[in-house]
Amino acid sequence: MELESKIEGLLFYKGEDMSVWDLAKLLRVSPEEIDEALNMLEQSLKNRGIILVRKDDSVALGITPELSSIIESIRKDEITKELSKASLETLSIVLYKSSSAKESAGITRHEIDYIRGVNSSFILRNLLVRGLIEKTTDERDNRRLLYKPTFDALSYMGVASIEKLPNYETVRSQLEAVIIGNKNDE
């Protein structure tokens, strides 16, 4: 049995995201082999009812966004789609500013406050409770708290990875340009 099929089965069983590392351990292969198999799985799932969602070092299976409205009609619980102006701004910062590259993933509250010009702690808490962002500690400095988008945030946006967000590349390069042009900030 192919590695990609094994991964598919495990993700199906779990029903939530799994890290590349966990998959490698369970399937007794290297993380690189998992990565490669994930790329193939992604291809195999094209035009199927299931889609592979990837974020940082984790993957999950979700239902293709084409089925979104049918699933909404059979769901028991209501889905809150409303975001206040402040939540929308803050979520956008976390989505576009936290790159998917491992070493620079996440953004601090200080950086968010700096961009918005106001204190964002209340809004961040709301987004955490709604499961749209998550809080982690910086691997290199565990006193630094970093905010990142969750799998749910990508799911609500209907994208399988951060890079597929609308105008992602453009927004990223615009942000880079301002930040590089103003190196002496803060």
Binding site: I71, E89, Y96, Y114, G117
Partner: protein, 262 residues
Amino acid sequence: MEEITTNIYKVRAGTFEGPLDLLLSLIESRKLFVNEISLAQVTEDYISYIKSLSDMPDDKRIADVSYFILIAATLILIKSRSLLPNLVLTEDEESKIVNLEARLKLYQIIKNASIDVKNNFGVKIIFSPLERTWSEPLFSPDQSITIEIMSQSILNVLESVPKKEEKLGVVEVRKVINIEAIINSLTNRIQSAINFSFRDFAKSHGAEDEQEAKVHIIVSFLAMLELVREGIIDVVQNNSFEDITISKEVLASSDQNLQTSN
């Protein structure tokens, strides 16, 4: 889409997320680019907006007034430079101006991106599967499930719930001095003395600490600019290292100042 644009451009008290939001809206409503010139042009609108905030009753006033005031300080630097051509700014002041421009540009990029987020959020969702029921739950406790640990855990939980004030973002809102009151006081002083130092004036409010002193200076400066605009006083700064002198005014010259700056 149309609804969004009209909402953003309407300048009304309490409708802005913060100072950058307000500032950007003022600039965009004039169809200007973000730069020092456009910032100078919207300074007065910005200040009158803050005034409308400080006129609001306490309970309606937004918690973030102090953030608005902080940005006002930089705007005043920009405005002063356009009003007083011989004003030389310090390196620190220069970098504050550059910084504000950059922040505003960052904010603008995010603001535009957030329109994309708004238009796509929840429209086509990639749903996660429902909770799996592969097998019956199997009771598997571990040794930490004891009454002692549970009663300690719940206390930890309750301790980390944010307090009501924190939640509203009213962490520490300094009572901002009423700009109107300062204008009145300034007018009185002008009537009694022809020349007096701005620094003395700002000091005379008896600030409790440095932070508060800064707020006083800013608010005083705002009030002063307001008077300049109304043509009541003239601001003269003889030398960049000297204090700003306020004197009773020759009406015509301040009008001119204002025209060149606008």
